[in-house]
């Protein structure tokens, strides 16, 4: 059993990293699109009221101060706070936030366990009464992160389907897969919660498990913890195939779509890219579009019936 969870865990982590990387790369590799910004643009100086550099006369002659850190903070913060939901649907938010925090904390917990295992391998004792203060701090952080993840995730996984069923709009747009996910995630968090409360109140077994992982020594664990770990590994494998990438893509969408206000200035790198895109061939069949010609040629034509090619 110990060997199984070691192998499974490695597979799960490799898979999640690979699939996420593929998905994010595919997202980023799409060509630059036409500007479609939406205000407020957070890196703008006057973001508070949604102002842009277009508010100044001859904007192209003025500096365009840009605070990328603010944008980054703003978008990351929302992963932990979900402000739009708080503002607009408080009941939904009450379940959605714990549900999401469950994800974030359970993954953080495992990452911390990895570091704990490394520290333990290096000789640090991690426990409530560890001789070194670092060991005691580490212990407390692990306990809080893990405990919070289990409680929050379990609460969210129970609350979400209830909210979805109770609200007309949400119910209409829910799919069977949503309910499957809630159930599956409930089992994952719930098994962790039970193992923690009933068998492993110090979460010691996770440190042993991670130590086993990095030393490739199958650990001796209680079957309940093993069950949770197997479920968690399946959860990791499953995650990239759900919409969970939105933790990252939503930030990309903010930066590369909603807040993308980079002007196309003569001689810029962007201009070169656009020239390339304008050279692509179009295959639209509308009568006003010269099928088979380049985008630029189609745009230079007037598309008027008298100048139009014979369309099939």
């Amino acid at each position: 059993m110990g060997t199984l969870i070691i192998v499974l865990t490695y597979i799960a982590y490799v898979l999640i990293v690979v699939v996420y990387t593929i998905k994010i790369t595919a997202w980023l590799k799409m060509p630059p699109h036409i500007r479609w910004d939406l205000y407020p643009v957070i890196h703008e100086e006057n973001y508070r009221y949604g102002g842009s550099y277009y508010e100044q006369p001859e904007w192209w002659t003025k500096p365009r101060p840009r605070n990328t850190w603010r944008s980054l903070f703003y978008s990351l913060k929302d992963n932990f706070y979900m402000g739009e939901y708080y503002k607009r649907n408080r009941t939904y938010w009450l379940c959605l936030l714990p549900w999401h925090l469950g994800f974030i904390f359970i993954i953080t917990f495992h990452i911390l366990c990895f570091f704990a295992a490394v520290a333990m391998f290096g000789g640090l004792d991690i426990a409530a009464n560890a001789p070194h203060v670092a060991g005691r701090v580490f212990y407390t952080i692990l306990l809080l992160t893990g405990g919070f993840a289990f409680v929050s995730g379990t609460f969210g996984s129970i609350g979400m389907p209830i909210i979805r069923l109770a609200d007309r709009g949400l119910r209409t747009y829910s799919m069977p897969m949503n309910y499957f996910n809630y159930l599956f995630f409930l089992v994952v968090y719930g098994s962790g919660l039970l193992a923690w409360l009933l068998l492993d109140p110090t979460l010691d077994e996770y440190r042993a498990y991670w130590l086993g992982l990095i030393t490739l020594t199958p650990p001796e664990l209680h079957p309940m913890t093993v069950l949770h770990i197997i479920l968690f590994d399946i959860f990791l494998i499953y995650l990239p195939f759900t919409r969970s990438t939105h933790y990252i893509t939503r930030i990309l969408a903010y930066f590369f779509i909603r807040w993308d206000d980079e002007p196309n200035l003569p001689g810029s790198e962007l201009e070169k890219q656009i020239v390339g895109l304008l050279g692509r061939k179009v295959s639209w069949e509308g009568k006003h579009i010269p099928t088979g010609r380049s985008w630029a040629e189609a745009a230079m034509e007037s598309g008027l019936p008298e100048t139009k090619k014979d369309t099939p």
Binding site: P31, P32, G50, Y54, D78, E84, R88, L252, W295, A299
Partner: protein, 534 residues
């Protein structure tokens, strides 16, 4: 009245998906809570035979049903081929990334629904949810483009049975969204359901050659052919300008020559040509201000050079690009230093922002809004202004295209705060404003009962906001002014105010920003704004 709408309602041949019940619309304050005529006219039997109205009994496109099963199949196949092109980086590099993102990452949380004025005003009709179009679209993609396994479609609830009628309904539904993008603004996932409306319109136009005739045939096609979507030729423009010069002299005593095709001028000013015909006072006011401030400017008589509208931004990337290219060419041939856009929201967004990644090389001519320039003139003291002349209640409508979609929020407000002592904001305003209801071509769409719909439904929220902004002075005896620095919005206000009898009941006039500036000019003998303009 049926409220819970399912996908099957869209795919079912015959019948109507929703019947709008006036009693269910979001209530307006008195006296507008009672209207004495049917709020939306019903189509005649003959119209129904000719045009598909099976979505909600309203017609914007009005497709004619196919005559044979072969015709139906050809229609569907061609449409599906078009959808496929939306996912091609060659055919649709312009919007591929936002499209894919929206389709893949929407979690159907419905946060956007509560932000949508059409959905709310309609009394929360399911079909108008911002998520409804994407839902239909996603299902079509799942089944016919990605060809997902039936089991997957089952657990993702993404099945759909396509027929002609479904597509006709989808096409109409794409024209029940003003593209105001208020929904997109609140989406925590960065999805943009307004874009889906536009992409559906694009497939209809770019692939099928189908679009409301006001947008295509009589809109962008006409603009590229004769120079303006209004059909106004350069010769007619010159006549109108002569008339405007006479009017200016009559109203202000000033003899102003409106510069046309002036080579090497500093600024090419492009107005929405609707102003020339419907609101000449706007272009006159521009001429008075620029003349008084000593600005070196010109108008153009080139194709699209005297009409800033760009309807393509609402339905067709190619028509859009063609117009911006012509506008830049007009500026280039005059050798101006920059292009300035007059009071037109969508022209701002199209010509200044969206155009940005279509123009290259020597067609990249600096383009800006006229509002910051006006602010500079007003604040500089170059013209003497007396706010006392504007001592009546004024509120400001934020054209979405100018404000939410390009961040020009404060210049117009700073002007109004300076020259209108009774200026008050609507709630909400600025980037969170509500669309006038005429966005994305609605204001010019006159098809059958569509104008009723846009007054009764899509403009309803704005109507409510305006009335609320003036609730301290509701009666018609106090003359009030809605400043709408956008031709398209003014078109909508004209129709909507007439529909509700707003002048008679509440004494509210709509107009542009420059009119208020000129009205405040201290050395004019008589007021520039005439309440009879209503």
């Amino acid at each position: 009245m049926k409220k819970n709408i399912h996908i099957d309602d869209f795919t079912r041949p015959g019948g109507q998906v929703t019947e709008l019940d006036p009693a269910e619309l979001d209530p307006l304050p008195p006296p507008y809570d009672k209207i004495d005529k049917p709020s939306i006219r019903k189509l005649t039997e003959e119209q129904r035979k000719r045009m598909d109205a099976s979505l909600d009994g309203i017609v914007a496109i009005g497709l004619t049903p196919p005559k044979t099963p072969e015709e139906e199949k050809a229609f569907i196949d061609k449409f599906l081929a078009g959808i496929k092109k939306l996912f091609s980086a060659d055919d649709n590099w312009t919007f591929l990334q936002p499209l894919v993102h929206t389709l893949e990452y929407c979690v159907k949380c419905q946060i956007c629904s509560d932000a949508c004025p059409v959905y709310i005003s309609s009394g929360r009709q399911d079909i108008y949810r911002p998520t409804m179009r994407p839902e239909l679209f996603r299902r079509i993609v799942s089944k016919y483009i990605k060809k997902e396994h039936p089991f997957l479609r089952k657990i993702k609830d993404s099945d759909i049975d396509l027929n002609w009628q479904t597509l006709a309904r989808l096409g109409e539904l794409a024209y029940r969204c003003t593209l105001c993008r208020r929904c997109a603004q609140v989406c925590p996932l960065g999805c943009d359901n307004a874009l889906i409306s536009r992409e559906i319109r694009k497939v209809f136009s770019q692939q099928m050659g189908i679009a409301p005739k006001e947008l295509h045939e009589k809109g962008s096609v006409q603009q590229l052919r004769v120079g303006s979507s209004t059909g106004m030729t350069p010769a007619a423009l010159k006549n109108i300008l002569e008339f405007a010069e006479e009017e200016i002299e009559e109203k202000t005593g000033r003899k102003i020559k409106i510069p046309v095709d002036k080579k090497g001028a500093d600024i090419l000013l492009i107005h929405n040509a609707g102003e020339f015909l419907a609101w000449p006072e706007n272009l006159e006011a521009f001429a008075i201000i620029l003349d008084a401030a000593g600005v070196d400017w010109t108008l153009s008589t080139e194709i699209a050079g005297y009409d800033s509208v760009n309807y393509g931004v609402w339905y067709d990337d190619f028509q859009f690009a063609r117009v911006v290219i012509r506008q830049s060419q007009a500026a280039k041939s005059l050798g101006v230093r920059k292009i300035s856009f007059g009071e037109c929201g969508h022209a701002h967004k199209a010509g200044i922002v969206v155009a940005d990644r279509v123009l290259t090389g020597d067609l990249i001519i600096p383009r800006e809004s006229s509002l910051p320039m006006l602010e500079e003139i007003v604040m500089s003291g170059r013209i003497k202004l007396d706010p006392g002349r504007n001592n009546f209640p004024v509120t400001l409508h934020d054209p979405c295209n100018m404000v939410r979609l390009m961040g020009i929020v404060e210049p117009q407000r700073r002007i109004l705060r300076k020259i209108c002592p009774q200026f008050r904001e609507m709630t909400p305003h600025g980037v969170e404003n509500y669309c006038c209801g005429g966005g994305s071509g609605f204001a010019i769409t006159q098809s059958t009962n569509f104008p009723d719909w846009r007054s009764a439904v899509s403009g309803r929220m704005k109507m409510k906001q305006i009335l609320e902004a003036f609730q301290d002075v509701p009666g018609a005896e106090v003359k009030k002014y809605v400043c709408a620095p956008c031709s398209n919005c003014k078109g909508q206000f004209r129709d909507m105010f007439e529909y509700y009898g707003v002048w008679e009941k509440s004494g509210i006039l709509y107009g542009g920003l420059v009119e208020l500036i000129v009205n405040a000019m201290a050395d004019l003998k008589k007021p520039f704004i005439q309440w009879e303009w209503h």
